[in-house]
């Protein structure tokens, strides 16, 4: 009965393929089993290269608690958290910027932090509803190529960037969260019409778009553009790899102007966390003197807790107080939809 034999051959083939395709999968999933059993899961929008050593310090600090970290880009992680909703395995969201924390908090996915965790941080650097807290601050700067721009030509205000000499020579990262925060800050400070006016004039300068801050810095170093609008610490990310003396990019701080806005990175505990106490201890650790010192020394950011200063390193930051950034509450920087609409209107997005 040949046909029967062949059918069984087919059946065997089907069985092998099926078992291989599906049976093997859960077996490979490992013992992890998915959901956190006493594991503290951190979604980090900050890269492993920057904060990895800090996470090691956190492990030591928390002792017995097992910690798992998933790294990603802040924007993508916020989108993922929003899709996961209340089922998220994350206990903690460590974000590159306040906007992402605001969006996740607005969806009701972050639980308020207790007062004792928030205590060391000035009110200026936390969410009004305590749903998140800043862990470090960063200043907006005009990064420039000293071989292409004389110091005398550096801008002292937004208006200086509208000078014809800058036409086609400025770079900016259109989808970057810090850039969007800057534009939002501009709207808050100057009103919709004032912001529209400046952005329209800025767009007429034909600034060049870059994928992110690092790409802007690279563009400045390569001479593709003469200057760009970025956060202060990206320069130091580059000079970790390359000798600062030979790297043709410098930071120019613009105090008392929207150009010198100060942004933050921060952290929030998810409402779905199955161990909020451990998650809050982790948040508290990020505000400890030890962690704040790490931000000052290793990531070249500004601590948000008083009394911490960068020690023994080549990076010379002007003190945060000297920047006299415009008085904008971080909570006011959450109106991103209006910012997006305005940027689309003037053709900068």
């Amino acid at each position: 009965m040949p046909p029967v034999r062949h059918r069984s051959g087919l059946r065997r083939l089907a069985a092998v393929l099926t078992v291989a395709a599906l049976g093997a999968l859960p077996a490979c999933a490992g013992a992890g089993g998915g959901q956190d059993d006493g594991v503290l899961t951190i979604y980090s929008g900050r890269s492993e290269g920057l904060v990895g050593p800090l996470i090691e310090q956190l492990r030591t600090s928390l002792g017995g608690t097992e910690i798992e970290v998933r790294y990603g880009s802040t924007g993508e992680m916020a989108a993922q958290l929003l899709e996961e909703g209340t089922d998220t395995p994350a206990d903690l969201f460590f974000s590159q910027d306040a906007g992402a924390l605001g969006a996740v908090a607005a969806a009701g996915l972050l639980a308020p932090l207790p007062a004792e965790v928030l205590a060391p941080v000035p009110p200026r650097y936390r969410a009004a509803d305590s749903s998140w807290v800043a862990t470090s601050a960063r200043a907006r700067v005009v990064a420039y190529n000293p071989t292409l721009v004389a110091e005398a030509d550096l801008p002292t205000s937004l208006e200086d960037l509208l000078d014809p000499k800058w036409k086609g020579k400025l770079g900016y990262p259109p989808s970057n969260a810090s850039w969007l925060s800057f534009v939002t800050g501009l709207r808050v400070i100057r009103g919709e019409d004032g912001a529209r006016q400046w952005l329209t004039a800025f767009a007429a300068q034909e600034p060049q778009r870059f994928e992110n801050n690092v790409a802007v810095i690279d563009g400045i170093a390569a001479g593709t553009v003469s200057a760009g609008l970025v956060n202060h610490y990206y320069l130091y990310e580059k000079t970790r790899e390359i000798d600062p003396a030979t790297f043709p990019v410098r930071n120019h701080y613009v105090p008392g102007d929207p150009l010198g806005l100060v942004n933050v990175a921060g952290v929030g505990v998810t409402a779905a966390s199955d161990d909020p106490a451990a998650a809050q201890r982790a948040a508290a650790f990020l505000l400890s003197a030890q962690a704040q010192q790490f931000f000052a020394d290793e990531t070249a950011e500004y601590p948000v807790v008083a009394g911490v200063r960068a020690t023994g390193q080549s990076i010379e930051l002007p003190p945060l107080e000297s920047l006299s950034p415009p008085e904008v509450a971080l909570a006011e920087l959450s109106s991103l939809e209006e910012t997006e609409a305005l940027l689309q209107e003037v053709g900068l997005l």
């Binding site: 046909p3 029967v4 059918r7 051959g9 087919l10 059946r11 393929l17 291989a20 395709a21 599906l22 093997a24 999968l25 859960p26 490979c28 999933a29 490992g30 992890g32 089993g33 998915g34 959901q35 899961t41 890269s47 492993e48 290269g49 970290v69 998933r70 790294y71 880009s73 924007g75 993508e76 916020a78 989108a79 993922q80 929003l82 899709e83 996961e84 089922d87 992402a100 259109p174 989808s175 969260a177 969007l180 060049q208 778009r209 870059f210 994928e211 790409a215 690279d218 563009g219 593709t224 990310e237 580059k238 970790r240 790899e241 390359i242 991103l336 939809e337 997006e340 689309q344 997005l349």
Partner: protein, 525 residues
């Protein structure tokens, strides 16, 4: 779910011999249809999610995003880039295949492998090397060069297979009738290889529409970049989903267009003993063709190779953590291997149906597997986040869901391979098997699939190598702590540690090169 169907179907069909001859051929076996439908369903999973999200803001919100001038502008830019890259890939891929298969180009066996290897280079690595070595290359032409250099093998490989499967008799006839070589090339050879070239061109077009790495680094705004900007800038998923819907519609249009362009030309299977085609002598133009071949290799492989070496030598973060590198390579092998397996299992029935049972239903099924291919990885990743965490929370951020994501993303790569290979297997042999009393499924398993095995394997290899490079969906769905090479590479470059990133890029390219060489071997036979 997918697994159960095939087993259940083993229910014994009636003995074929008792059926009337006419009935035997009509319609496809139900098992095959059911199994194929599973593949189709898997492929359209992201579409369901997209609709849910796109209509979040109601029909008015949907139209608002759709009718923004910016949407039309991005659409035009994406279409222009995809059109230009596809046309260039068809020209370069076809000529490269012709040089390797039909001419007396020196070192053509070596070139055969080198022309396939750029598939192993991720677009974000190629894009990064170009922008750092040639900063002025940003913009349309930069994106064009990067995308052509990494995706022309999508055309090269099927055309090589097609040229090898045909014996050049028609070309000889054309030459004997006095046609000049150029006319033979364009009028006969290209026409014969056209279905293979357009099938490859379709993959190129969909790939360009979905690509984020090259266009973002080259600062050329496209639809996909708009989708990312929407997620990153405002954390609003609705406009991104609306744009995703447009991308799907565009992909459906491109897929339909390819079907039209492919035409009815099918493989002519030579009767009798196949013989090697006569070698075309390049004559005095030989050095020129050789220079062109070297140029293609220099642009597509030389630049990334130079740049990766450069990173390692210049950067201070250089250091190889062998244990970490090995672990990442092992994870990559595992997830990409399982991804290739699952994708192939799902693709086989779709490809067989498309090749053997042509009709409106099978054409729709085949097209369904293609449309999601134009979606960026982030959208497919979020769709699986949305569904996975609700339907199978136990598997969330575990290997099975990640593997399923690869199947959703890369199904068309395998479907194309299966379809072409099955179409090239002589129907006559199927008929012989049937006349000897084998059922349709038995014939498929014992005759058709073994004949098509190299093509099926080639499709699986293509999926494997594409999965090793995948980043956005992998970042969302990989098991915590189990990083693939692409994730490690991203992790280091994100912190500006390019020298530390280089070894991961090199191992990634090396790992992806293995199936490329196998692919090339498979099509050479």
């Amino acid at each position: 779910m997918t697994a159960v169907a095939p087993l259940r179907v083993a229910a014994p069909p009636e003995p074929p011999a008792t059926r009337p001859r006419g009935r035997r051929r009509t319609g496809a076996p139900r098992l095959l249809v059911a199994w194929g439908a599973v593949g189709g369903l898997v492929a359209v999973v992201p579409l369901g999610y997209l609709l849910v999200r796109a209509l979040d803001g109601g029909p008015a919100g949907f139209l608002d995003v759709l009718l923004r001038p910016r949407t039309a502008e991005l659409l035009a830019r994406s279409v222009a880039l995809a059109g230009a890259v596809t046309a260039a890939c068809i020209v370069i891929g076809f000529l490269a295949a012709w040089l390797v298969v039909r001419t007396d180009l020196p070192w053509r066996r070596g070139f055969g492998v080198l022309f396939a290897l750029p598939l192993a280079v991720p677009s974000y690595v190629a894009g990064f090397t170009w922008i750092s070595e040639v900063p002025g290359s940003a913009g349309f032409w930069g994106a064009f060069v990067v995308l052509v250099s990494v995706s022309f093998p999508y055309v090269f490989l099927p055309v090589v297979a097609s040229l090898r499967a045909t014996d050049g008799a028609l070309e000889e006839v054309a030459r004997s009738l006095g046609h000049r070589p150029a006319r033979v090339l364009a009028g006969v050879t290209l026409r014969r290889a056209w279905p293979a070239a357009t099938a490859g061109g379709l993959l190129v077009a969909l790939y360009v529409l979905s690509d984020f790495g090259a266009v973002s680094l080259m600062r050329y705004d496209t639809f996909t970049l708009g989708i990312y900007t929407s997620y990153r800038g405002t954390f609003n998923r609705t406009p991104a989903a609306v744009l995703g819907c447009v991308l799907v519609a565009l992909a459906a249009l491109v897929t339909w267009g390819e079907k039209r362009a492919r035409g009815r030309a099918a493989h002519r299977v030579a009767r009798g003993t196949p013989r090697p085609a006569a070698v075309v002598a390049l004559g005095r133009a030989r050095p020129l063709w050789l220079a062109a071949a070297v140029g293609v290799v220099a642009v597509s492989l030389g630049v990334p190779a130079y740049s990766l070496t450069h990173w390692m030598l210049v950067g201070s973060s250089f250091g190889i953590d062998l244990a970490d590198l090995g672990a990442a390579a092992a994870v990559t092998l595992q997830v990409a291997g399982l991804g290739a397996l699952l994708t192939t299992v799902l693709a086989v029935p779709v490809g067989v149906l498309a090749a053997r049972y042509r009709g409106r239903a099978t054409a729709t099924l085949e097209s369904a597997t293609y449309v999601a291919h134009a979606l960026p990885g982030i959208t497919v990743g979020l769709a699986l986040v949305f569904l996975g965490i609700r339907l199978v929370p136990g598997l969330y951020q575990e290997v099975p869901l990640l593997v399923l994501a690869y199947a959703v993303l890369f199904l068309p790569l395998a479907v194309g391979g299966v379809r072409t290979a099955v179409a090239a297997a002589p129907v006559r042999l199927d008929e012989v098997a049937r006349s000897l009393g084998h059922g349709r499924l038995s014939t498929l398993a014992r005759v058709t699939l073994p004949l098509a095995a190299p093509g099926v394997g080639a499709g699986a290899a293509l999926v494997f190598l594409t999965a090793t490079k995948e980043l956005p969906a992998t970042l969302m769905l990989h098991p915590t702590g189990a990083d693939t090479l692409a994730v490690r590479l991203w992790s280091h470059t994100g912190a500006g540690q390019f020298a530390a990133a280089a070894p991961y890029a090199i191992v990634l390219v090396a790992l992806a090169a293995v199936p490329v060489v196998l692919l090339h071997r498979a099509v050479r036979r």
